[in-house]
């Protein structure tokens, strides 16, 4: 049962990070940003939505924390979690949309001297995709936080309930999902589009940065084109990254708990058989037993984690070397 809940968390993390990445593409928080967000300042007037709500990590911490607090309040009032979590996510997204509007309007108004107008259709047209993608991400994160909060109760071992409250978990997961979405899957700003004429897709002069914001394959480019482009590869790969991180992390903790004897002990203590009574009495009489089991659990977990890390690093080096050798520098059409 515990493993099933863990896998559900992994799946939710995959969906959350995929939608998070696509949402940040629509708002140009992720793809393409930095200099491109200020493209108008180098003369490249554009029809992009300028969602400058700090980095992705703090902004997702914001929406997920608000979703967490609202869901927490509703759960305190005995509302069913199936209703409380979506309502929380809805509240988080309401805040998201408000912040998006102030950011876009504020930034555009501050670029007055570069003749960048506020296009109302750009403003209204992007809010709904931002809200819907963000809602999916916030919903999944709040659900993860809820499951973690009640993991022990749900899987029959109350000792496994997370010590942190729902809003705090939402905050931590929000920062994590934002940080991973911000660092992974940014293909639109990388080799695929803007730097296609460079070996391995590296740097280009700042003067050309703004150009990516102006014209698409057909007509004037907006972020909807970018979301469409990134949904094929960048978004899913970001989700995959986050899902894998959670998978490895929970897998190593669970392996540690299994092999270290923590889970069998908890299971025995929760049962009503003679073994359960013996386990309860023994742990109470000799506190060294649970302490030793806890130490062993932690050590096995850390060792497995280190092994996974080393395998991943070696795998990455091999894959990058292979790809560079196999495909070489970009040679043009």
């Amino acid at each position: 049962m515990l493993f099933a809940w863990m896998l559900l968390i992994v799946f939710l993390a995959l969906i959350a990070c995929m939608f998070e990445d696509l949402e940040s593409d629509i708002g140009s928080q992720s793809n393409p940003n930095s200099q491109v967000q200020l493209a108008a300042q180098i003369g490249q007037v554009n029809r992009f939505f300028n969602k400058a709500i700090s980095g992705e990590a703090p902004s997702y911490a914001l929406y997920c924390t608000i979703a967490g607090v609202v869901a927490y309040v509703l759960l305190l009032k005995d509302v069913n979690p199936l209703l409380a979590i979506p309502i929380g996510a809805l509240a988080g997204e309401a805040i998201h949309v408000i912040f998006s509007v102030t950011a876009h309007v504020g930034r555009t108004a501050a670029q007055k001297r570069f003749e960048q107008p506020i296009y109302l259709d750009v403003l209204y047209g992007h809010l709904l995709p931002i809200a819907t993608h963000g809602f999916m991400a916030t919903l999944c994160i709040t659900a993860i936080a809820y499951i973690q909060c009640n993991l022990g109760t749900l899987s029959g071992m109350p000792a496994l309930d997370h010590p942190f409250a729902l809003p705090l978990l939402g905050f931590i997961w929000g920062i994590t999902v934002g940080a991973i979405g911000s660092s992974t899957g940014d293909i639109h700003y990388g080799a695929e589009r803007e730097f296609q004429d460079r070996p391995f897709g590296e740097g280009k002069r700042v003067v050309y940065h703004g150009k990516i914001t102006r014209y698409a394959d057909c007509g004037v480019r907006t972020q909807k084109d970018i979301a469409y482009f990134c949904a094929k590869y960048g978004g899913p790969i970001t989700g995959f990254t986050f899902g894998l991180i959670i998978l490895f992390e929970s897998w190593r903790s669970l392996i540690g708990m299994m092999l270290g004897g923590y889970l069998p002990l908890q299971e025995a203590m929760a049962s009503d058989t003679l073994l359960g009574t013996v386990a309860r009495v023994a742990t109470e009489l000799i506190p060294a037993i649970p302490a030793a089991i806890g130490d062993l659990t932690a050590i096995i977990g850390i060792v497995v984690g280190l092994a996974i890390g080393i395998v991943l690093i070696v795998g990455n080096v091999v894959i990058v070397k292979w790809a560079r050798k196999r495909y070489g520098p970009f040679v043009g059409e």
Binding site: A52, L62, G106, R107, F171
Partner: protein
């Protein structure tokens, strides 16, 4: 990540909506109002909310003043730093809340404020000192000190809104261990750095930026009000149901007024506001 840029010019005070006090005046006014409100924890939540607005406004103004010299990506970071100071300072403050009490006035919490002012000043000096980090940002020392004070005052006021008192155990029980501190942290930091980050650009104007801070404070009060009203143990007392509901109404009014005002001002002051249109062709 966002990147700042463009030349910084002196603001034109003649056009549009203006905000009367300058940076120093606003700092002094806000500090006095917030300190007076924070040392009397028995006040109703709405009055404390006014204190929070001023504290965050001051913090935002310090972020703006410090970041104006091309801090770019540092704008969000410095806001988070200020709120981090705030959480630390508020914890120090409530630890001393029991001493120096004179009936309903609790000046003990100001020890936390002073501590954070000193820490902020030291970190400002360290960052600006040629021999240590050498960031050479004009006014960084003063800015960091103000951020420490403003952050601490804002967090203390929010603790006192949610817990109804500044007693250490009560605050830990009702504002920290149940996780509501996360929402205070994240919305306070947003109120400090989002305005300047959102309005960043060569044509940024201080009154417009200040409005965003007040608007975000309104959102903060709505969320805190919902929390206070839902978890209240009494109806009429401090941090009771009535306190929570009045906070929601106050937050809603503040938010609507300043959001509408900001959007209207920004749309009026932008180069132009058009329904739709093609982009300007470049040769």
């Amino acid at each position: 990540m966002t990147v700042g840029g463009g030349p910084v010019v002196e603001e034109e005070k003649t056009e549009g909506f203006s905000f009367p006090p300058d940076v120093t005046q606003l700092g002094i006014i806000s500090a006095i109002i917030a300190i007076v409100i924070v040392i009397i924890p028995g006040l109703p939540a709405v009055v404390k909310a006014v204190g929070v607005i001023f504290a965050l406004l001051w913090g935002m103004d310090s972020v703006r003043k410090t970041s104006k010299y091309g801090l770019g990506t540092g704008v969000p970071s410095i806001g988070v730093l200020a709120t981090g100071y705030g959480v630390l300072g508020a914890l120090v403050g409530i630890a001393f809340a029991g001493i120096l009490n004179v009936s309903i006035v609790q000046p003990g919490v100001l020890i936390g404020v002073i501590a954070m002012a000193i820490v902020g000043l030291i970190s400002g000096v360290l960052s600006n000192n040629e021999k240590i980090i050498g960031m050479k940002i004009p006014g960084l020392e003063r800015g960091m000190m103000e951020l420490g004070i403003a952050g601490t005052l804002a967090m203390l006021l929010q603790f006192s809104i949610v817990a109804g008192s500044l007693d250490f155990n009560l605050v830990v029980e009702r504002a920290i261990s149940n996780g509501v501190i996360a929402v205070m942290f994240v919305l306070s930091m947003m109120a400090m750095f989002h305005p300047y980050n959102a309005c960043l650009g060569p044509d940024e104007r201080r009154p417009r930026t200040l409005m965003v801070s007040i608007e975000i404070s309104g959102l903060l009060f709505i969320i805190l009000g919902i929390f206070v009203a839902a978890t209240a143990v009494s109806t009429w007392g401090v941090a009771g149901v009535v306190d929570g509901i009045s906070l929601i109404v106050f937050g809603l009014i503040v938010w609507i007024v300043f959001f509408v005002k900001f959007i209207k001002t920004a749309m009026r002051e932008a180069h132009s506001t058009v329904g739709t249109g093609l982009i300007k062709t470049i040769e």
